[in-house]
Symmetry: none
Subunit: 123 residues, 4 copies
DNA sequence: GTGGTCTAGACCACC
DNA sequence: GTGGTCTAGACCACG
């Protein structure tokens, strides 16, 4: 549970949870079948309320990224690498491509964007 | 005032106004010195309250895109094309950088993003 | 919340709030991390609408004096005493500089103003 | 009529007029008995409406700085140098002294304030 | 006629 | 419970 929460950030806490855990699942850091700690534990460890944790879990379950086994807890869904890639594309890349196209329309060229990408990865 | 508002959208009305008018100013569609219609007129025409209009105007003034003249109304700021380019870049780049950081958090690495950028510019 | 509002004053209500609360934060009377009462409560207690309270809070957040935590309320920003001193100076000095510029416009010269300064420090 | 108006400034136009003309009267630049141009002329030359000019004249007359001679126009009041000094003090210095005392209470020392004064006169 | 401020009340997202 | 957004209406300062 390598998670960092900024309680004062504009992004809601439950969304910060979704983003970070989804990233760990899609990157393979959290492997399929791997169990997640109980939500109360997560809440306590992060110093936040149970409510945003519960909501994050719910939304990830709805997205098919985790599954709840009644009485046993939540587990990372076991996805074929194909499905995993597809999810990755859907969730991450689509929005980025849209944003890049917007910039393209506003007159930025390829090299300028790549420059920004590099800058983001340096900071 | 070529503006379309989606009252049901998840983006607040004032933000929709900011986005669309800013785009028109930065693209030159709304030229410097050009007067904007009174906020109450805009509100009436769009079928919304004055509040979101006023807030949009305020934020654009804070961003230096428009100026208010007491008792006369609001006008598009007269910016040298240099300043305008700079503002355009700042505003466009800021959003893009945010999106890239999101992808970074989600586990995409630099090369993958650059690949997507290239794909966007080919299509 | 030691605040006094003069509804008839020429200074707007939201500005009176900003002035008084900012002074309390900068003087340490309201310590960093300390929670502010809910804006609706403040409004009720002062017998005013929520609007000016909200606006005051917004401007103080923009100035980095307070932070909003979603669903939890607003808190005095935790600033290192260095930062706090800097903010204090900025805020105090800005007002003074404005006043001095006014005097400059009114025809006072540098020596006359310095004379007044000295007189203030003697009495 | 050495006057500069900033139509987009926060300070109302009529107040800008009052400030600048009062400064010229108090500094002796506009001597007692000296005639002021007709308000319509002033308005035209400054590219502003007659309304703020009229209001500025009214307030300066109320302050005893100018006098209207029916059918002849407005003239700078003829004040003994004593009266003039007194007005100067009342109008300009009182506010400044108050502001300086506020800064003194907030912990600024004499040298810091003199430094700020110098900076204001350099810019 | 313009924007600036304020009131009173509502619904929603988040914790 | 908290703040965020919005509506509908009012009064005032400014030009």
């Amino acid at each position: 549970m390598n998670i960092v929460i900024s309680p004062a950030a504009e992004e809601p806490i439950y969304q910060q949870l979704i983003d970070q855990i989804t990233a760990q699942i899609l990157s393979g850091e959290l492997a399929g079948g791997c169990g997640l700690p109980p939500i109360r534990t997560v809440a306590k460890e992060l110093g936040i309320s149970v409510i945003p944790v519960k909501r994050a879990w719910e939304e990830m379950e709805r997205a098919g990224l985790i599954v709840t086994m009644q009485g046993k807890g939540c587990f990372v869904a076991e996805l074929a690498s194909e499905q995993l890639d597809k999810k990755r594309d859907n969730i991450i890349i689509e929005k980025l491509a849209e944003e890049i196209c917007r910039c393209k329309r506003m007159g930025l060229n390829k090299e300028e964007i790549i420059e920004i990408v590099k800058r983001c990865y340096e900071s």
